[in-house]
Amino acid sequence: MSTIAIALIVAFVVILSIIEVPKMLKRCLYKELVLYSVFLLIGAVTGILVTLDVKIPNPSDSLALLLSPLVTVVKFILG
């Protein structure tokens, strides 16, 4: 099951790049290319780690940590 998922992720990344990257290079959109590859890399790596049952850090946890003083105020108001 996990090998099918990894194959699907890799296939999606490869097919999307074959279609999109020449178009971006022809119009000299280098900043878009950098952002595109950063996000695609994050997505592919995280996707492969999820299929292998590795625990990924939750962005909601970091936000709860960042907002913890306000969270205590809200807990006091809402009871």
Binding site: E32, L35, F39, G43, G47, V50, L63, L70, I77
Partner: protein
Amino acid sequence: MNKEKISNHQLYSLTACATCGSSLLVVASPVTELCGRDGWIASIVSSLFGVVFILLYYALGQLFPNKNLIQIIRTVFGKWLGGIISIYFIIFCIHSGIQITAYIGQFITTEYLITSPVYSINLLILIIMAGALLYGLETTVRSSEILLKVVIFIMAFLFLANISNIKVHYIQPVLENGFYPIFKGSLYITSYRIWPLIFLNMIYPIHTDNSSSALKAMLKGYFLGSLIMFLVMLMSILVLGTHVTSVFVYPTYFLAKQISFGFLSRVEGLIVGAWLITLFFKGFCYFYAGIQSISTFMRLKDCRKIVYPILFVVLIYSNIVYPSSAYLAFWDKYVWISYSFTAGFLLPAFIVIVYFIQKALQKTSRPELAQDSA
């Protein structure tokens, strides 16, 4: 970024759909937990209170005509502080979009397709979202004009068909616990309905005709959305009672199951359709605001090339962001209120305050320069 123009009627229907948002299905339950039978009073109070915030967002657009929210932040706060605040806003938009996708997937795997993996449903929703984002703002807002009429029709049918099931004694006695629980409930409702409307500032001054009729359109849409939510709250309490409403995760769905007039039964699929429509437009607004923010912040020439990678990341993270129902109940009640408070109220308030302080400082420094040169 090409300049797309949307008309006032389209702004009205987009605001109405985005105000309903996820509240159609899930908000009645925690509000009833917080303030008992008086949830409908909390809805009225927060609707009236929210006009102040809509005026704040309108004033922000009037002070800086023809500017995006990110351009406003960069003008007022400079490069470095403005950069940090812009990144916070981008994370707010994209993270809320991930949560909306997670809501849709969880609902459908809970009620209908129980053995399907969540990723398959999220993939379908994100394919439609990618299509909407690639087509652009004008096309999607035109479709919201049509779909708003469908939502109004479905909700009117839900309310009228349930009139025979009302038991008035569920709502009595009114104001039993005083005003403080109503304040708690209205705080919760405000954080879901009004403070996320900051994303309208990515659309409002730069893509519409800049006039006071835009304010009327936004207020009309906001009041229509609030009216639908108020009626949902009222009917949930009148038909189901407080205990059932506070226990169910999806009380409006259970409300729709109560309709049975001979051949008219099992019509709860209509409510799911209306909820999916409003949730789709709210998610589209979040993603559109996020992608426009990224492309303004990084000064990209074409904002459509990054749609596919960002939605790919959203698909992967959509099952990570809410690991369990207990986590959802805690996060949505305590952390989300603080989160949307910072992004929806503190951010525009700071921008306006700092702008006026800067203007006042400029005025006091100019007479000194005139005296020096004379």
